[in-house]
Amino acid sequence: MKLIDRKKEIEALENYFANARDGSGKLVLLSGEVGVGKAALAFELMKRHEKDALCIYTSVQKTKTIPYAPFLNNIDEWKGYVKTLDLPDRLRRELFSTTSISEFNVGLQERVFALFEQAFKEISENRAMIFFIDNIHWADTGTLALLSHMAESIKNMRVLIIGAYTSNVLQNDKFSDFTEFLTGLMMKDMLTSIHVENFWREDVAEFIRTFLDVESIDNAFVEKMQKASGGNPLFLDYAMDLFIKEKVVRRRKRLVISLYEINIPSSFEEIITRMLNLLPKKATTILRYASVQGTTFLMDVLKGQLKMREEEFRRYISLLEKEGMIYPVDEERYGFIHNRARDIIYETCVKKKELHREIADLIEILHEKDINTHYLELADHYFKAGAWKWASRYAAKAGDENLKLYSLGDAIFAYNMALTAQKMEKEEDTTSTGKLLLLLGNTYLLSGRWEEASASVHEAIDIFEKEGDTAFIINAYIALGDIERERSNLNEASDWYQKAMDLAREELDNRAIAKAARGLGYISWRWGNYESALSMLAEAEKISKELKDPIYGIVMVDTGNVHSALGDLKTPRKYYLKGVEALQESRNLWDLARAYNNLGDSYLQAKEWDMALEFFEKCSEIAKKAGLNNFFGWSLFNSAEALNAKGDLDAALTYLDRALPILEAMKDINGLSGVYRDYGLVHLKNGDFKKAETNLLKAMKYAKEADNTDMILDTKTDMAELYIKKGEKEKAKEILQPAMQSAKEMDARKRLERIEELLKKVK
């Protein structure tokens, strides 16, 4: 596409590159609607600097491939510029070993990030670099996390990273990973973007003149083209290309026919339809079959459907590639260059149901060996074919795979698809529906969507009770206990755990006993009954150790919490670290995030702020990657507490501002009490006592609602500190005396020490 009148934008990019060349690297984002020419801008910059910079281009594909793919695609282009010769091979080894790529690997991310950082550093010592990634709104979470990391790492490197994305697609995807990525950059004041707008009338005229290589063009034609395209460069490019193919215009000529005879397309759809009419019939057939597969398509499946001779097939594929309709994605797949073109072609297809069925059957046969990477694709095709049983089976498998990878949004989507398909099936298998509902409920729980979690599990219980399936009933009771626990409805949670415990003891189901004991131990801790908590957790520990049950790691973290509440600083860490080890092994990211958060908290208690921040960051990384919104929120406000203590009040407020809406959306009242307490502490530090009081009162309200004895005690002590600072010693004393009594009753030694310190000040 031609680069017309983008002076302002190209100047901005030139400035960023000049700074990068001088050693101040940056990540710059280009935003704008589809076809506005974002990539053209980046290419222009790369063209201008191909001699003085290493220019790398890569693009994210809509179809999920492997994590970090955009960074990996071009290793061969930069490997000659690094000093550490085996670095590219080390990266490949890390990322292409089958276990690390297909399953979540906790240490992998750190190793991969460090290797990329080293690679970019070494390249930039050699020569400046422009690294351009197109379509970053489709990037996987790993790539986005790496981009965020690199944005910070390249600050002192001669590297300019440019990322282009379509801004109007974000509107329909409010909670996407990409929006979260932008927000993360904004939090760190690293969000630099250039918005690329559609063409004005003069730009349209220049575009057409440049396209046709003529000096002037009829005003009326420009007017009509401006009106039809809305100034969208892609529309203009395609429309002019269509006119050339239709022989209505010719390069180096003005219009070949009269302006009034030109049939200017009124929409992109019309352009595509007219382009299809100009193609040989077999080529359009290929496009139609391909469109049923999706925006990208497997070549072997397509060939299997068409039953065309290899040579003929290849010829038409080359033609379509030349015509700018499709492009090779990788060794197996091709893709449509423009998704809208694919959608338009798909709409023209007849017998879609049969075609979807045929595609699903072919994928099953041709991809038997790597079928697990096609589960969702298969489910989707069988669903669209109305083959409900198969759709449900593959959707459930896709849900399991995604759950294993902690791709929670995808897992929820797949399980819901499986349930819908199952309900469409005439002879519904109710036990299987119950199991799916329980899985869905647990997945909602992991995502922090507690109301939906509760509804799913209740529906599952109805089914299990009708079927009399005790083992599943126990598991569902435990799931409800977990949900109510997270919602801070401790009485309800305790009831569900107790019901599960009673039934589990009756059935002699030891694993379930361990789970229920763990739940009850947790509740006792939250109620401040530490002795009872330790006794329940000890039972859970004994059984889980004997059975080598993955719940062991969780029990370790909970036991650490009780010791922490008792005021011990070192013992909790021992338990948390044992927990981390076990949880890494069992790939339980939810509790691993919790363990890191609690480790951070133990350093907060010890006033070791940097260590605390390090562990909260680990918690945040896992939470973001695994979509654990509650832990993401918790790590943010806990980090704020450490930042506040370090004196970085502005950063603390930014972290709290970010945590608050997340926890509000989740109705996490425990988390909210923490956020407001930290707001109170920040204002207490900067001397705004009125705001400190307002926020601490809010914290107290939520802590009471959550029945969180530790938080109530901490907030009361903070209130007393506030009144001491305000010179209202009597008020402080009124709070501290009963607080001391509570701390004694709870045997909360560390808290008691703080209260006694404050009491000395009011005497």
């Binding site: 984002l29 935003s31 704008g32 609607e33 801004s167 109007n168 974000l170 509107q171 409010k174 909670f175 929006t179 979260e180 932008l182 927000t183 904004m186 939090m187 969000l191 973007s193 918005h195 707008e197 502005d650 407020l653 930014t654 501002d657 970010r658 608050l660 809406p661 997340i662 509000e664 959306a665 705001k691």
Partner: protein, 76 residues
């Protein structure tokens, strides 16, 4: 009045962005030196521009214009 303005602006932004919208309001306020809990009518013009600019990045020009227009309207 000021708390009411904060709430209204948060509503405009979260209608477009979900919970991130609320954070964006606080962040822009703090960058402009405006107390997010205490937005005054005279802050609206600068805030509308700043939030419009952010919206350009997050949601494109149409949304950006809409947000800017709606926030400026609150001054009346």
């Amino acid at each position: 009045m000021s708390r009411e303005l904060t709430k209204k602006i948060q509503e405009i932004m979260s209608a477009e962005m979900g919970h991130i919208g609320v954070f964006i309001v606080s962040k822009q306020c703090r960058d402009l030196g405006v107390d997010p809990e205490d937005i005054e009518p005279e802050d609206l013009n600068d805030l509308a521009k700043a939030l419009g600019k952010v919206m350009l990045t997050f949601g494109g020009s149409e949304k950006a214009r809409k947000v800017e227009r709606e926030i400026k309207k609150l001054a009346n």
